[in-house]
């Protein structure tokens, strides 16, 4: 008898323990340290990552990206289909969705939100849904979108933040004559369908989100999401201070951990040092116009650029600048981008080959040039100093010029810069955006470098309406082949999003596009 009761007790304890290990705990406020404050939490008119990355917690889209950023999941729409011609999309809306103020979400809200997002007068993101021609709701739960032409990116576009669903009646009731004016009023107390509501915002200091009592999502325990009572963002621009607060337990999580501190936090038993895969690429952008500053431009020479690529040791750069956290790039776009092609690092280090190429070029003895880097940025300085040494043997004298972002952007946009450090993160899970900025010259002269390739331009234009996935993949593969071998970019390495969380934080993730997802986050007591 005694044996049985002891056995039963141990079994009960064991099962109970097992359950506690996997069951989410509810309640509590998560304190998250950010490096900068948000600016304008508005889906259509925002223009900064600091807004985009937290918006999904307040506003939701019809389709939602998967954790790895490559697939699509139901969001406010539960099913969808694209017609064979690729120029019409039909979506079924999720039933019973309410806005945070209790008002039911209607088809009219969806129609209005999509029309507003695709209006070319509104903001800078409308190009993502430029193919939208008409949006109608044949019944309360169906949305019909007709496109101007076949658009293989439309489903991904419907998972991007600017197509988030807002409340039409509330927006139109806002004071103001322009969309901008109404949007500013609406953003003061944003009403979306997301798991959190903005409770208060002490600009530059703290932003408090609280759980949305009307949220439609349910957790693994069958009760409504989110698990947390709220999220409080604290703005701590200084990296050292932000990490200090995390280590002391005042913060539950902190973003943008400098690479130099990753190993230290990884070794900390109380901290979980996450390196979320990202779409972030780091590169050097070179001006390839024939003349620069009234003189012939050495960077215009293909062989010169190839030599510079071979002489730049990416593995060394990864060690020196990212402390081993980065990975050399296999294409100009990150490996997390759909339609990425290439499985070997670009231009493996080969100084002999680099010297041979320089000898064949129009500048066998080398030349003097300069690079524009961000003043006070440790990573940029590390990259530039390393390149200075790596290009020395080729006879290239590199002058390092430090300037603030706005000054550098002015030279960059004018196309009068020589070289600059650069990078990119995707805003959509598709290869088209990064390709349009980097390789498709009509948009911004291939990252303002003056590079142009007619075959690439034609391939890009074709890819914008090519519905056959195999054909489209081939088009992007060819674009990457041409651009990676003769483009104006020196692709260096990809870096993840370094986020440090305390050990008792679970269910938080950052998708490759950058969105911070708190929807299913919970904190163990």
């Amino acid at each position: 008898m005694k044996f049985l009761s002891v056995a039963a007790l141990s079994a009960a304890l064991m099962l109970g323990g097992l359950e506690a290990a996997t069951a989410q705990e509810r309640g509590g406020i998560m304190h998250y340290g950010r490096y900068a404050d948000s600016i304008f939490i508005e889906p259509v008119l925002n223009d900064a990552n600091v807004d985009i990355w937290i918006m999904a917690n307040i506003y939701e889209t019809l389709i939602v990206p998967t954790k790895d950023g490559k697939g699509l999941l139901p969001g406010l729409a539960t099913e969808w289909s694209v017609n064979p011609a690729g120029d019409a999309v039909t979506l079924k809306l999720r039933e019973g969705v309410k806005f945070s103020d209790g008002t039911p979400m209607t088809a009219e809200d969806v129609v209005w939100s999509l029309k507003r997002a695709s209006n070319p007068d509104n903001g800078i993101w409308n190009f993502l849904v430029a193919s939208i021609d008409t949006v109608t709701a044949p019944d309360a739960l169906t949305i019909d979108i007709k496109l101007k032409h076949s658009d293989p990116t439309i489903l991904s576009a419907l998972s991007v933040f600017n197509t988030a669903i807002m409340q039409k009646a509330r927006f139109e009731a806002m004071p103001g004559d322009t969309d901008q004016a109404k949007a500013e009023e609406y953003a003061k107390n944003p009403v979306g369908t997301g798991p959190f509501i903005l409770e208060s915002w002490d600009r530059g200091a703290t932003m408090k989100l609280v759980k949305n009592p009307n949220y439609w999502g349910t957790g693994e325990d069958g009760k409504p999401l989110p698990y947390l009572d709220g999220v409080t963002f604290e703005v701590i621009p200084d990296d050292a201070t932000r990490i200090l607060k995390l280590q002391s337990g005042d913060l539950d999580g902190a973003e943008f951990i400098p690479f130099a501190r990753v190993a230290e936090l990884d070794a900390d038993p109380d901290i979980n040092m996450e390196l979320f895969p990202s779409t972030k690429v780091n590169d050097i952008i070179m001006n390839v116009r024939p003349m620069l500053d009234g003189k012939p431009n050495p960077l215009m020479d293909d062989k010169v650029r190839q030599a510079m690529n071979y002489a730049a040791n990416k593995d060394a750069l990864v060690q020196v600048v990212t402390y081993g956290v980065g990975t050399p790039l296999t294409s100009f776009m990150s490996a997390s981008t759909p339609m990425h092609a290439g499985d070997t690092p670009l231009y493996p280090y080969d100084l002999a080959k680099a010297k041979a190429l320089m000898a064949e070029s129009a500048y066998p003895k080398g030349f003097e040039t300069s690079i524009l880097i961000l003043a006070g940025n440790q990573d940029d300085l590390g990259i530039a100093t390393a390149l200075q040494q790596m290009w020395g043997p080729l006879g290239i004298k590199l002058e390092i010029k430090q300037m603030d972002n706005a000054s550098r952007t002015a030279l960059y946009r004018k196309g009068t810069f020589t070289m600059r450090t650069g990078g990119w993160t995707n805003d959509i899970a598709d290869a088209s955006q990064i390709t349009s900025y980097y390789a498709y010259s009509p948009l911004i002269d291939s990252r303002h470098t003056g590079w142009k390739n007619e075959e690439v331009n034609k391939l890009y234009e074709a890819s914008q309406s090519e519905m056959d996935v195999a054909k489209r993949t081939k088009q992007f593969a060819r674009i990457q082949e041409i651009f990676n071998s003769s483009g104006p970019i020196l692709s260096m390495y990809a870096t993840p999003y370094p986020v440090a969380l305390r050990n008792n934080v679970h269910g938080f993730f950052q998708i490759p596009l950058g969105n911070n997802i708190f929807r299913e986050t919970w904190i163990a007591k």
């Binding site: 600016i39 900064a48 703005v235 621009p237 201070t241 706005a406 952007t409 002015a410 946009r413 990078g423």
Partner: protein, 312 residues
């Protein structure tokens, strides 16, 4: 009466100074390469978007038109809206400037509390070990950069000992003071070193003065001699130095606000300059100029009280 006309004359002098500052900041910030739209949009910027935003902001109008619009707005008290944050500049100033003022006032007070008594000790015990020790410690405080000393204080007294919060500003007046103590202490280090050295020299000079010898000869106790004769006279030059150091304090506040995550005007100013947020830079500069001028006026008044000969 003489004091009143002195104050009045000083305030009158303020107006052309402010106008001059207005012109300088307006021109300077526009001389910087780059524009607000490009700064906002960054690498994603398309020409059409940049032109549209700059047009909406009125930045395509001729400079003199923009300047007169700016002057008009200052006179009517409307400082415009922040380009980046899309809220009125006046609101931003009202929110952020008091934070920096509180920080600098606390730093100034701490600096005085540190410098005053120790300057006396150092002066009275000059050339003895105590004097050398005091001067040595203050020298270290003077040479340590703010971001370094700040981080050390934060780590030891904030994160490890938990005596003070790890950065931030808090809620409510007393909570603000609690949060600002460590940053104010950090800021106070270099100022207290400067004040201490100046006051020590002034005290030494005064101690040797004839009227002090006379006071001692009359039989007045040493304490009274110190308070009534030495202190008042020694303070004059130090008060002037104190006023001039306000500028240094304010610029030190910028770094301190970053390290301690304080939502003050210093950080806002830097971010606005980087972002070419002209209305905020202009508005904040005027506010700071008025503030600094009033501080000078205040220190001049204190000097006048200490030494009425100044008002003539």
């Amino acid at each position: 009466m003489q004091l009143l006309s002195f104050i009045f004359r000083r305030i009158l002098h303020l107006l052309p100074t402010l106008l001059f500052i207005l012109i300088v900041v307006f021109v300077l910030v526009r001389l910087l390469p780059g524009d607000p739209a490009s700064a906002i949009l960054g690498d994603r910027a398309l020409d059409a978007d940049v032109e549209r935003i700059n047009r909406e902001l009125g930045l395509d109008r001729p400079l003199y038109v923009q300047f007169f619009a700016f002057l008009k707005s200052v006179v009517t008290g409307n400082l415009g809206d922040s380009i980046h944050l899309k809220i009125p500049v006046a609101e931003l100033i009202k929110k952020r400037l008091p934070v920096t003022i509180m920080l600098t006032v606390m730093a100034a007070l701490i600096a005085v509390v540190l410098a005053l008594p120790l300057a006396f000790v150092a002066a009275l015990k000059r050339t003895k070990p105590a004097d050398a020790a005091i001067r040595g410690v203050f020298q270290v405080g003077l040479s340590m950069p703010v971001f370094y000393s700040g981080l050390i204080l934060l780590t030891v007294f904030g994160a490890k000992l938990r005596w003070f919060p790890v950065g931030g500003y808090g809620d409510g007046f007393l909570d603000h003071i609690y949060h600002l103590f460590l940053p104010a202490l950090t800021l106070a280090f270099s100022l207290s070193a400067i004040l201490m050295r100046s006051l020590r020299s002034a005290i030494i000079d005064v101690l040797d003065a004839e009227y002090v010898q006379f006071a001692k000869a009359k039989g007045i106790g040493p304490g009274l001699v110190l308070m009534r004769h030495v202190l008042r006279n020694a303070l004059i030059s130090t008060v002037a130095l104190f006023g001039l150091s306000i500028g240094t304090l304010l610029s030190g506040a910028v770094i301190t606000e970053s390290v301690f995550a304080i939502p003050g005007a210093g950080r806002l100013m830097i971010e606005s300059i980087y972002g070419r947020d002209y209305p905020v830079v202009q508005g904040m500069t005027i506010a700071l100029a008025v503030l600094v001028s009033l501080t000078f006026l205040l220190t001049d008044l204190v000097q006048a009280w200490l030494d009425p000969r100044v008002t003539r």
